[in-house]
Amino acid sequence: MAVAPVLEVRDLTVDYGGESPLVAVDRVSLDVGPGEFLGVVGESACGKSTLMFAIAQLLMPPAEITGGSVRFKGHDLVHMKERQLRHLRWHDYSVVMQSAMNALNPVLTVAEQMRDAMKAHRRVPRKEIEARSTEMLRLVGIDPVHLHSYPHQLSGGMRQRAMIAMALLFTPDLIIMDEPTSALDVVAQRSLMVQIKELQSMLGFAVVFVTHDMSLVARFSDRIAIMYAAQLVEVGATGDVFAAPEHPYTEGLLKAFPSIYGPRRELTGIPGSPPDLRRPPAGCRFRPRCPYARNAEPELARLQEIVSPELLPIGDRLVACHRVQMLERAG
C-alpha cells in the first residue's frame, strides 16, 4: 500500500473464556486504506463479528484479545487506556450495528441521541450540535423534521440511515459496519448501499463492512476478505476474487448463490459444516469439506493434515491454501 493504511490489524487473536473456551479469531491480519471499502464475508460462527468488535475495542468478557495488534492511524488501540480510546471513538472511527432497534435508545428522540453522542466525545456548542444533526440527517436522506421523532416512529430503513447519520457526526476516517442491512428488505437494502457509497465518495471515510452475503458487497466493495472458522482464507480485489476465486471455500461460496441472470444451473453448495471451534482440527480447517483435498498427493495431504495454512501472497491476492501455494511455487 502506497499510502499509510488507516487501519492495520496484525495477527489479532480473540479468546472466549468461560465454560467452553474457544478461539473465535485466529491470527487475523488485514489493512484498510484511506477511503477504501473492505468487505469482510463469512458465514455464521466464522468470527467476523467478533473480529469487528475486537477492532473497535468493544469486546465484553469472557471475550478478550489475547494476541496481535490493532493500529489505527498509527495508534495502538489494544493497549490504549480507556480515556484515550474515548477520545478516538466516534471522532476518528465509529461503529454501525446490525440492528438499529437494539442500538437506538427507544425513549430518546433522534436529536437527543445525536446530541448525547456528540457531547460524550467533544465539547460541542449547542448551536453546532443542532446544525450538525440536521446536516447529517439530510446527508443520509432523512427529512430533518424527523429529528424529533422516536425510533419506533421511523421505518426500518430510516432507522438504519439514522444510525449511519450518527456514525458520521464527526466525519470519522473509518466506519465499521456489522451487517447493517440484514433487517431490511431487498429494496431498502439496495438503497442503503448506494447511499453509503455516495457518502463515502463525498466524505472520504473508509468502510469495513461485515456480511454473510457476498453478493451484497460485490458491487460496492473495493476489496474483499473471506473468513472461515476464525481465520482469513482469501483477501483480494473484489472483482478479481469474484472472477477467479483461489481458495476452495471462496469457490464453493460463489457457486452457492443462485442467480436470476444467466442459465439455470444445478448448484451444489458446500456439504458439511464448519469445524467446532472448541476443538479445532489440526491442519487445514476446510479440509473435510474441500473437493480438492480428496485427490491430493501424499505430500500435500500430509501438509493439510498437520499444518494450518498461512495467508500468503499469490499475485495480488492473499490466500491461505496449501494446494494453491504449492502450485504457485511449482509454476
Binding site: G17, S44, A45, L58, P61, E64, E82, D276
Partner: protein
C-alpha cells in the same frame, strides 16, 4: 462423495443471537447445577436431614411421642435430649415424629397448589381470548383475597382444621401466585414454532399443552412448587399455632401451640418452643436455598462467570 460431517464436528452456538437450546434431560441438568451450586447443595442436604428424620422416625425417636411417661418440664439430659413437655412427653421424640405431618402438609399442599396454578396459568396462556380473560380475572380475585382472614374463617368453620382442611386452605389461598407467574412464561413459549409445528402435524390441544409445552417449563414449575411448599409449611404452622389446627394432631405447629398454651417460655422449658420453631425456620431456609439452585437452571445469567478483562462497550 463426502458423507455429512458427523454430529460431533458441528458448531453449536458461538453466535450470540441464538438462544441456548435449553434444557436437555432436565434431571441431568438439575443434577449438575445442584451439585455445583453451593446454596442448592446446602439446601438439599438440610432438606435431606429432615426427610430422613421423618422417614426413619420410628428408629430415630427414642420414645413414643405421645407417651406422658416422664417427669414433666425437665431440662435437656442424656435421656431426653431436648427435655420434656409440661405433660411429660419427650420433646425430641415429638419433634422427630411431628416432622411427618409438617413435611406432608408442605408436600401435598405445595403439590396441589402448584398443579392448580399450572393448570390455570397454562390454559389461560394457551387458549387466549375469552378463556384467558376469565381465568385472569379469577386469578386476580384470589390473589387479592385477604388470606389470613379467609384462612381463619375456613379453619374455624371446620372446628379444628385437620390435615385436609389445612391443605384445602393452603391451596385456596396459595394457588394464584403461581398461576400469575406461569402465565407470562407460557405466553412467551406459545408462539414458538415447535408448538405450531405440533399443531400442524395434527396433535390435539391437550397433548400439546401436556407434552410439548409443560416440559419446557419444568424449572419454573419446580420453583413454583418450592415456593408453594414453603408457603404451605409456614401457613400450616401459623394456623396451628394460633389454635386453628386440630390440637390432637402432631406437628411442629401444634407443638408450638401446646408450648404456648402451657407458657413454656415462662415455666422453664424454652426448648419446647425453640426446637419446633427452629425446625420450621430451617426447613423454610432449606427450601429457599434449593430455590436458588432452580433459579439458576432457568436463568443462566445468574451463574457466576469468571470475570475476565475485556473492553467495555459504548460509543
Amino acid at each position: 462423495m463426502y458423507p455429512y460431517v458427523a454430529a460431533e464436528e458441528q458448531v453449536p452456538e458461538v453466535r450470540p443471537e441464538h438462544h441456548q437450546s435449553a434444557v436437555v434431560g432436565v434431571l441431568a441438568r438439575v443434577g449438575t447445577i445442584l451439585a455445583t451450586n453451593r446454596k442448592a447443595v446446602a439446601g438439599l442436604l438440610l432438606l435431606l436431614v429432615f426427610v430422613v428424620g421423618a422417614v426413619f422416625a420410628p428408629i430415630i425417636a427414642p420414645y413414643p411421642p405421645d407417651a406422658t411417661l416422664f417427669v414433666p418440664t425437665m431440662g435437656p439430659s442424656r435421656a431426653h435430649l431436648l427435655g420434656t413437655t409440661a405433660f411429660g412427653q419427650d420433646i425430641f421424640s415429638q419433634l422427630v415424629w411431628a416432622s411427618r405431618q409438617t413435611l406432608m402438609i408442605g408436600l401435598i399442599g405445595g403439590l396441589a397448589a402448584t398443579v392448580l396454578a399450572v393448570l390455570v396459568g397454562v390454559t389461560s396462556a394457551y387458549f387466549g381470548g375469552l378463556t384467558d380473560h376469565t381465568l385472569s380475572v379469577v386469578t386476580d380475585v384470589f390473589l387479592v383475597l385477604p388470606a389470613l382472614p379467609l384462612m381463619i374463617v375456613i379453619a374455624a368453620y371446620e372446628q379444628g382444621g385437620g390435615f385436609w382442611v389445612l391443605v384445602a386452605v393452603i391451596v385456596i389461598t396459595g394457588w394464584s401466585y403461581g398461576a400469575r407467574q406461569i402465565r407470562p412464561q407460557a405466553q412467551s413459549l406459545r408462539n414458538r414454532d415447535f408448538l405450531t409445528s405440533a399443531r400442524a402435524r395434527g396433535e390435539s390441544s391437550w397433548y400439546i399443552i401436556l407434552y410439548e409445552l409443560l416440559p419446557n417449563m419444568t424449572s419454573l414449575i419446580l420453583a413454583i412448587f418450592l415456593g408453594a411448599a414453603l408457603y404451605a409449611v409456614l401457613a400450616a404452622a401459623g394456623l396451628q399455632f394460633i389454635g386453628l389446627g386440630n390440637p390432637n394432631d402432631l406437628s411442629w405447629g401444634t407443638m408450638l401451640y401446646w408450648a404456648e398454651n402451657q407458657e413454656a417460655l415462662l415455666t422453664g422449658s424454652p426448648l419446647w418452643v425453640i426446637a419446633p420453631g427452629a425446625c420450621i425456620a430451617l426447613l423454610g431456609a432449606a427450601v429457599a436455598l434449593l430455590n436458588y439452585g432452580v433459579d439458576e437452571i432457568g436463568n443462566p445469567a445468574l451463574r457466576a462467570t469468571r470475570r475476565k478483562r475485556g473492553r467495555r462497550a459504548g460509543p
